[in-house]
Symmetry: C2
Subunit: 325 residues, 2 copies
């Protein structure tokens, strides 16, 4: 993976709406030191970067100093790989276009790459996880939203502007679909994210009268975790919610396969860990909806990275590709 023994480590920084987590990672994907700061606690990005550096630098020094670090990789919402900027991220406190990669490079003197969270997850999976050795795969992250990172011919797909791979915003129910946070209707993520699952639960509970454990929870508080717990206890309605969610996702995956014919689709996030309740309908709908030439060829995999580590590992993996400054 990295034969440069002079610089045996990379740094991964995952910037979330609540927490920013960072870690020093070796070539095998072990996080050997880590820390975090609250993203929202710093009203200017300068203060934020200063605080991250203040916490990160001691970790770097304890591993032998800046000269041991090959690069820094950052995963951030609305991250643009080409420019190293975060652009108009709705969930971050800093508005406009933020040249975050350049700011870290300047302060620490370490080459820095940045991309969005789902792309970072895909690079992480290719470097340390379920997609090791694959040249063509699609990563789908099932979280609060649905994100994606696409790898073709062994390269991340960034598109002409750095923003490729927003498969959570492909329209799966045209005209009649659910309102999405992006302002359009029927996006995949309104159905197949954790919030989409909760939304389906509320809709089904309101539209029907059959018994369900989910009726013990007030509708506005239902989470996808509640639906999973009910499904495990044999709740038919909860199981039907996963069936519905998985079927929609599988149908969408069949269309994605017609685009890039990947070796595998790798699912990441809490929903992907809901076992057969969701994986069986995804797989069935995917195969049922594939064009004949694609049937039975594309693997459906679950991420091999631990949830708690995946974001930092993904971000760090970006840094192995960097050239020295």
């Amino acid at each position: 993976m990295n034969s440069n023994m002079e610089k045996p480590y990379v740094v991964g920084i995952d910037i979330g709406g609540t927490n920013s987590v960072f870690g020093i990672v070796d070539a095998r994907g072990t996080i050997i030191a880590s820390g975090s700061v609250k993203t929202q606690a710093y009203s200017t990005v300068e203060e934020y970067v200063d605080e991250v550096c203040k916490n990160l630098l001691p970790l770097i020094i304890s591993q032998g100093g800046v000269e041991k670090i090959k690069g820094i990789g950052i995963g951030a919402p609305n991250g643009n790989y080409y420019s190293g900027t975060i652009e108009f991220a709705p969930n971050l406190p800093w508005k406009g276009i933020i040249p975050l990669a350049a700011m870290f490079e300047e302060r620490l003197g370490i080459p820095t790459a940045l991309t969005n969270d789902a792309n970072a997850a895909a690079v992480g999976e290719m470097t340390y996880g379920a997609a090791r050795g694959m040249k063509d795969f699609i990563m789908i992250t099932l979280g609060t939203g649905v994100g994606s990172g696409i790898v073709i011919n062994g390269q991340m797909v960034y598109g002409h502007d750095g923003f490729a791979g927003e498969l959570g915003h492909v329209i799966v129910r045209r005209g009649t679909g659910r309102m999405c946070g992006c302002g359009r209707k029927g996006c995949l993520e309104t159905y197949c994210s954790a919030t989409g699952v909760a939304r389906t639960a509320r809709e089904l509970l309101a539209a029907r009268t059959d018994a369900s454990l989910l009726r013990n929870i007030s509708a506005e508080n239902i989470t996808s975790k509640d639906v999973y717990d009910a499904a495990v206890q044999g709740d038919k309605l909860a199981q039907e919610i996963f069936e519905f969610t998985g079927t929609l996702l599988g149908e969408a995956l069949a269309d994605f396969i017609a685009f890039s014919s990947p070796e595998a689709i790798v699912l990441f996030g809490g929903l992907a860990k809901s076992g057969d309740y969701i994986m069986k309908p995804i797989h069935k709908a995917m195969e049922d909806n594939l064009l004949n030439i694609y049937k039975g060829k594309t693997k459906l995999l679950v991420s091999e990275l631990k949830d708690s580590d995946a974001a930092v590992l993904g971000a760090s993996a970006l840094a192995w590709e960097l050239k020295d400054m």
Copy 2:
């Protein structure tokens, strides 16, 4: 494009269901000699290849012989780039898996590459046409069916199995869609191909009673050309057919952009030449349905290659990438 003056030419062979056309092409995309044979006239592929070689070899010799030819590129239905084979092509007389590239290499001693027609069109557009210099674009061919060729990071997307890029078979009307020749329902090509336009005409004429020039033609004989001619004469129903077709295609293109964020989408084929009748609704529906970050960024272009030359040029362009044997 090609600085190897020792081998200044390539050969392009386009294999269609009816005719096979071949030509010798220079680095500027000029077809300097060409010929054709009837594809269906040869019941074995050996006879077919012999006949093509018999017609092609004199052309090659007149340009200085085999040593002047850098390579042969073949565009063929169900062509697989990785294996150089045609696999189970329903419209060709030879069944099963045909190792066509190897057969030409053996007979002529010239390196040979093969891919499907739409991919060849994309390589042609990138080498000689509207996509010159572009690293990220999507080619959509609007003919009897709808084909596509996708270029990302300057490379054709073949996928893990050689069959990527079947965007004509993305589902645009789920559940309620038209029956497709592929056995599924609601594929893009059932609406946005030339046959899809004729189908829309028949449906609208049957469902409605308003006057139309198209009522002068017996329903089963209506072609997309008839619809175009009527639209030019101010026929409202014909114009509405293009509006409907363009809207569906534009919606689909917006989803394709969310995948690879291309610099341009290049449309090829008769329908793409229907001017504003189709281009305006395509462009409007595409922009209306794009996620905000993509709006106004992707060009919608029409192929710059002449219809009659495009297939041979596209196939020939593949050959510039070949290594010497």
